[in-house]
């Protein structure tokens, strides 16, 4: 019961999609079912996101309740959740601070607090890359040498200053050979395209094989224990 029901549900939810692919949806009952199933999936999918929120709330609440070291920070997380969520759920007709339109608390907190932080998180990586470039990226063998040389060429090619430099090099040393153009043709649309295609095909087979196993209930890791 605990496994057989989910396995049957998973199979049917996937089976409809496969059959409908090979038949004309407009003329069969299938088309109707397919449409409805897809709507349902988008609805259930929404609840998965909420589940994440509930477990963040739980973890932080535990920390606050047991006064774990640094629980003040956890309290801050809890407060932030409520300050953001509650005004958003109140109808905008009550006050323009509610809802999610421009001028609401929700919109303001997103654009002036959440947004800059998220944008900055990844901006930090520029610094990390530079320091790793200096301290860790070594041409230790022929393979990594080739990788670093290609990387350098591509980095030069993607900036206007570097492109001008590459054209200069081509003009003076290589009898007017257009270096930037051949980087685009032979590296990006040649070797790179070929390898990405090979990897894409391999990854697609892997994803399809995983999907097949999930649909048939052979693969149940996603269900977890219990």
């Amino acid at each position: 019961m605990r496994t057989i029901v989910p396995v049957i549900v998973a199979f049917l939810a996937g089976f409809v999609m496969i059959v409908s692919f090979f038949f004309n949806p407009e003329r069969t009952l299938l088309g109707r079912i397919e449409s409805e199933v897809l709507v349902w999936v988008t609805i259930v999918g929404g609840f998965t996101l909420l589940l994440g929120v509930v477990s963040i709330t739980r973890v932080n609440w535990q920390a606050v309740r047991t006064m774990k070291e640094g629980w003040g920070y956890n309290l801050l997380t809890l407060l932030s959740i409520f300050v953001m969520a509650i005004p958003a759920m109140l109808p905008a007709s009550w006050s323009q601070l509610f809802g999610d339109a421009e001028g609401s608390i929700y919109d303001w907190l997103f654009f002036h607090v959440d947004y800059p932080m998220m944008a900055t998180m990844f901006a930090m990586l520029a610094f990390y890359i530079a320091s790793a470039a200096y301290r860790a990226f070594r041409a230790r063998n022929p393979e990594s040498t080739l990788l670093l040389v290609t990387a350098t060429l591509v980095m030069l090619w993607r900036i206007p200053m570097g492109e001008a430099f590459l054209i200069q090099v081509g003009d003076t040393l290589l009898f007017g050979y257009n270096l930037p153009e051949s980087i685009n043709t032979y590296i990006m649309n040649g070797a790179n395209l070929a390898v990405q295609r090979g990897i894409l095909i391999g990854a697609a087979l892997g994803a399809a094989s995983m999907s097949l196993r999930i649909m048939l209930g052979i693969e149940r890791t996603y269900m977890g224990k219990g």
Partner: protein, 211 residues
């Protein structure tokens, strides 16, 4: 700049700098920012799902007569059974519904939308009449695709012809990853530029307004 705008900019600048402060070392400002960030993001989800799913996809249509939407609604609520170990198996039904559907779509689209077209695009005429450059490009693509596929083929030892091809594959892979490397560096720097631009273009000018 109005005073509201100045406050907005200063709030955003404070949190930007608080995150950047991690570069020096882990510190209370970073921790503060990090925890507020986690909370606001979770709160954003609540507001979004409330509006986009619960109101727009469940409540309104059900009031309009689509009573059967109560089924996905219940399935969605079942998802929360995960939080209580004793009944957590019930959540599997909802999860299986979503996973099974995604798997069904993927199973077909990966083969039909990726494998077939990518195979077809590799079937190039070698040594055509279009000139040296395009002939060379066709050879690079063909050799690259096949040798990459062979590099990731695990059912035979890489010796003999297979070994040589796999060796060629690794060189191709290194060129491609080099390109990837260059592009990724570019991406991270662009993001830094975005933030520096904000600080220099909006935040700094606000100083003159303040004093």
């Amino acid at each position: 700049m109005s005073s509201v705008e100045i406050i907005q900019i200063w709030v955003a600048a404070f949190f930007t700098l608080a995150i950047f402060s991690f570069l020096y070392k882990d510190n209370p400002f970073y921790k503060l920012a990090e925890h507020i960030f986690a909370g606001l993001s979770a709160g954003y989800y609540v507001g979004l799902i409330w509006k986009a799913v619960i109101i727009q996809q469940l409540w309104d249509p059900m009031l309009a007569g689509s009573w059967w939407l109560v089924i996905p609604g219940i399935l969605g609520v079942l998802m929360f059974a995960r939080l209580w170990p004793r009944i957590s198996w019930v959540s599997r039904i909802a999860l299986a519904f979503v996973m099974g559907n995604t798997a069904g779509i993927f199973l077909i689209t990966q083969l039909h939308g990726i494998v077939l077209p990518q195979m077809q695009a590799t079937m190039l005429a070698l040594g055509g009449t279009a000139g040296f450059a395009s002939a060379l490009l066709a050879i690079i693509v063909v050799v690259g695709v096949i040798s990459t596929l062979i590099y990731f083929y695990f059912s035979k030892e890489h010796t003999g012809v297979l070994g040589v091809t796999a060796r060629v594959g690794i060189w191709f892979i290194m060129v491609s990853f080099g390109a990837h490397f260059g592009y990724t560096v570019m991406a991270r720097i662009s993001l830094l530029i975005g933030r520096v631009y904000f600080l220099a273009d909006l935040w700094l000018p606000s100083f003159s307004q303040l004093f």
